[in-house]
């Protein structure tokens, strides 16, 4: 027996010289909705939208309707789906964004059909395939799969004494191991300068710049460190087929999505360190009980055999998800870290990692991570004290 069905129906017809009308219906077990979207053929621009609910998730869903007008004027092309998902999906409703995108995609196909028919009047033998390949040109570029650039940045020279001989500072070093800056991470709304100012203001000893698939120039980071007199370290958040990983000591630029096994190999070759970021993000939306995800089952995930540590305090996930990650890390005997995952200024330092040793550079950081002498902490909440939150969670 089917547990769920969704049907989306889109019909496109022409109304006037430069106007397509798209009628879209989305009907599934939960939602029932309809849209009429008028689109300019030449400019591929949304001219008008009407939408209505037939069935909705809750009584407040009709609040979505007025926000549909915000898509009027949007033009199809680079970034269009993201814009619709962001504006309509978040301000109105994801289901409306979904059917509007389906209508617009179908309208683009219809525009091809219309242009082909016009062209065929001049060249009756022109097939649709030939027309399309002329219109699109040759396929462009390789897919955005896993690729590691051949250019390798120089590795920072090893400095200082072995970790065990290193100075143990009073209270050690507290670092936010996971922050995102703009424009290096397009999803972040805060510049590196703002992150640094905020980190200093709240009393962090340092921050790690872990922008998505972005390798910071060591010279630029060294300049920032000197200018602001704050420990600023380089890291990288890399998306793998098994989720996001925060890595340190890997200077290769990684583009696209990488297989976790391949990333592990690269990190090991570079003698770096890899932390699985927010491993249970969103996973508990329906409650552990609903899916029956037990601690034991979670601990069996192969990804935990490939990482050096687990991020168990991250400000982008629920406390329940953080607690669950902490239990998994403890059960597997894996070290646990904390990082804010800040994308906004107010998020810097919500969580951090407290190291027993004084850390002065990236090599110190990697060595300290290898010793396992660190613990995650709710820095904004608890200040420089040892984290009660983590201890009580596990």
């Amino acid at each position: 027996m089917l547990k769920f069905t969704r049907n989306k129906l889109v019909s496109i017809y022409k109304k006037g010289q430069d106007r397509l009308l798209a009628h879209g219906i989305l009907e599934d077990d939960i939602y029932g909705l309809e849209v009429n979207v008028a689109i300019s053929i030449n400019r591929l621009e949304i001219l008008s939208i009407e939408g209505k609910w037939k069935r909705a998730e809750n009584v407040e869903c009709p609040r979505a309707i007025p926000f549909l007008q915000e898509a009027v004027g949007f033009r199809m092309g680079e970034g269009f789906p993201q814009k619709v998902r962001k504006i309509i999906g978040r301000k109105a409703c994801r289901q409306f964004a979904d059917i509007i995108l389906e209508c617009c995609d179908a309208a683009q196909m219809a525009a091809h059909v219309i242009r082909w028919e016009t062209e065929k009047e001049k060249r009756p033998a022109l097939s649709f395939d030939d027309f399309l390949s002329n219109e699109r040109g040759e396929p462009t570029g390789p897919p955005e799969g896993f690729s590691i650039s051949r250019e390798q940045r120089p590795k920072p020279k090893r400095e200082g004494a072995p970790a065990k001989e290193r100075e143990k500072g009073a209270g050690g070093t507290i670092i936010d191991l996971h922050v995102h800056t703009s424009p290096a991470s397009p999803c972040s709304s805060v510049t590196v300068e703002e992150i640094i100012q905020e980190a200093k203001r709240i009393g962090l000893d340092g921050v790690c710049l872990t922008d998505h698939n972005h390798v910071w120039d060591p010279a630029e980071v060294a300049d920032l460190r000197r200018k602001h007199n704050l420990l600023i370290l380089r890291g990288n958040e890399i998306t793998t087929d098994q989720g996001d990983m925060v890595v340190f000591g890997l200077d290769k630029e990684i583009k696209g999505i990488v297989k976790l096994e391949d990333l592990r190999e690269e990190v090991s070759k570079a003698k770096g360190f890899m932390i699985v970021a927010h491993p249970f993000r969103g996973f508990l939306t329906f409650g552990i009980g609903k899916l029956g995800l037990t601690l034991e089952k979670a601990m069996e995930r192969p990804l935990f055999r490939l990482v050096d540590a687990v991020e168990v305090m991250n400000s982008k996930v629920t406390e329940k998800e953080n607690r669950f990650a902490a239990k998994v890390a403890k059960g597997l005997g894996l070290p646990a870290t904390g990082g804010s995952d800040a994308h906004e200024i107010s998020e810097v330092g919500i969580y951090a990692t407290q190291f027993s040793h004084v850390i002065k550079d990236e090599n110190d950081l990697i060595e300290a991570l290898r010793t396992g002498e660190f613990s995650p902490m709710a820095f904004r909440k608890e200040g420089r004290k040892r984290s009660r939150e983590y201890e009580s969670a596990t």
Binding site: R6, V113, D129, D241, S346
Partner: protein, 165 residues
């Protein structure tokens, strides 16, 4: 004059429970230019994709791609947040690969909506109790706050709930 259609699309996603440990989700696309099918099998409770299959029965233009090979790249990923970026990155960027990737996403969305449906089936019929039910959902998952018009500030469903930090 009749408004004859220039283009028509029908996309159907259906989810079934195969047994206690697995669910199958399929997406069938039929439109003026394309006819394609993608099937995804996920393991419960991890929601890990353990099998994917598909075929393109009719399409236009573009180079041939190996559908099975393209789809196999998503085996091992898990249904959940961030999956769309992973699927798109793994499957590829040609027009056909993008469509196949989108169909995999649709299958995965179907799985999530199946669980959403189960949650909604337990929502109380009484309006006041329903409001409290949704409030509790937002409380236990703060990411839902301001995630759509119904859960935006000003809506009774989030009344009294502190915005997440």
């Amino acid at each position: 004059m009749a408004d004859i259609l220039y283009f028509c699309r029908n996309r159907c996603i259906s989810v079934e429970q195969i047994d206690e440990q697995s669910m199958r989700s399929s997406c069938r696309l039929q439109d003026t230019l394309t006819d394609a099918l993608v099937e995804v099998i996920v393991k419960i409770p991890d929601l890990e994709v353990i099998e994917v299959s598909g075929e393109i029965r009719r399409s236009t233009g573009e180079q041939e791609i190996n559908v099975v090979e393209a789809l196999r790249k998503v085996i091992g990923i898990r249904v959940g947040p961030g999956m769309k970026k992973i699927i798109r990155g793994l499957i590829g960027n040609s027009k056909t690969e993008k469509e196949l990737g989108f169909m995999v996403e649709e299958c995965c969305d179907g799985i999530i909506l199946t669980f959403t449906k189960d949650v909604l089936l337990h929502a109380p019929k009484d309006k006041l109790k329903e409001r409290e039910y949704f409030k509790n959902m937002v409380r236990s998952n703060p990411r839902l706050y301001n995630s759509c018009a119904a859960l935006a500030p000003g809506s009774p469903l989030v009344e009294g709930i502190k915005p997440p930090r």
